[in-house]
């Protein structure tokens, strides 16, 4: 066999492998990311205990064929300072759903000051999904104004 032909076969296999890895990795990342977004826009009923606990439940599902890693962090920012923050990192194996529970805890006095209409407060949620042995990743940092 000619050297150029042998090299052609090797490169074609590498290209094909790269394409398959790209497609599988993207599919896993997209399915995990789309299911990791908090669903619904309903208002949250909070119990004004001390401290005030704000729960967040996510159920990311990986419908792909490669494992994915999900990192989620949520912060409540008021007047430029982080008032409360919580984060978690989970592995989502292919074909499975992993529940993620986050809790923001803040003192009652802070909650009364910031969790009201017109307060200068922001919710910052960062969702990062990586796949293909962490070689590819997608992250979205969502900053939403609160105090409405």
């Amino acid at each position: 066999m000619k050297a150029s032909k042998a090299l052609d076969i090797v490169v074609t296999i590498v290209q094909l492998g790269g394409f398959i890895a790209f497609a599988l990795g993207m599919y896993s990342m997209i399915t995990v990311f789309s299911t990791a977004l908090p669903q619904g826009g309903g208002e949250m009923e909070l119990e004004m205990t001390d401290p005030v606990i704000i729960p967040l439940h996510l159920a990311p599902a990986n419908q792909g064929y490669l494992g994915a890693r999900l990192s989620v962090s949520i912060s409540l920012v008021g007047d430029g300072d982080v008032l409360a923050s919580s984060s978690k990192q989970v592995e989502v194996p292919p074909g499975s759903q992993v529940p993620v529970d986050l809790e923001l805890s803040l003192p009652l006095i802070t909650a009364q000051q910031y969790l009201q209409e017109g307060a200068d407060v922001e919710w910052v949620t960062e969702i990062e999904v990586s796949s293909l042995y962490d070689l590819i990743s997608f992250s979205n940092t969502i900053t939403m104004p609160g105090g409405d």
């Binding site: 000619k2 050297a3 150029s4 090299l7 052609d8 090797v10 490169v11 590498v14 290209q15 790269g18 790209f22 293909l132 070689l135 590819i136 990743s137 997608f138 992250s139 979205n140 940092t141 969502i142 900053t143 939403m144 104004p145």
Partner: protein, 160 residues
């Protein structure tokens, strides 16, 4: 027309259809809200589509040149090298959503219903993979060119 020439004409036509025709027609078929969202995200659609059209045109021309020049000529070797480099260009532009300087690490910000979405996509590994593949393809083109020269040499003569 030889089979190789017909093949190169077909290849050039398909390249023009995909990489020049689609980017040319896309703006008229893209829903306005999607186009606006891409603009808001900092993706310069006209520049992105022009980059695709230019690379598509270059690739089509190279496909034609390769079909009509002798496989032993230096032009054939140069055309093969440029063809491979333009494949790298396509990958970098596509993965960078038009920003070739990002080299696969794309960042954009989208405003949606009052919420600011800062999106980061890291696809650098595929740019590195493409660089490796293009380097190997250039070596392959050089080997093919050398083999074609050896085959074309008169019997008993060792090619330079």
């Amino acid at each position: 027309m030889s089979q190789r020439q017909v093949g190169s004409v077909i290849s050039a036509l398909v390249t023009v259809l995909i990489f020049v025709g689609i980017p040319y027609l896309l703006p008229s078929y893209l829903p306005p809200d999607i186009a606006q969202m891409m603009t808001d995200a900092g993706i310069d659609m006209p520049v992105f589509l022009n980059q695709m059209k230019i690379l598509g045109g270059i690739t089509a021309m190279i496909a034609l040149v390769k079909g009509f020049v002798d496989k032993t000529s230096v032009i054939y070797l140069l055309a093969s090298v440029v063809q491979n480099v333009s494949a790298l260009g396509f990958t970098v532009i596509l993965l960078g959503a038009g920003d070739y300087a990002s080299l696969g690490l794309t960042e954009f910000t989208v405003d949606m219903e009052g919420a600011v979405n800062q999106i980061v996509m890291d696809m650098r590994v595929f740019v590195y993979l493409t660089v490796g593949v293009v380097a190997l393809r250039i070596i392959q083109s050089y080997l093919e060119w050398g083999e074609a020269k050896a085959e074309a040499a008169p019997p008993g003569r060792i090619p330079p």
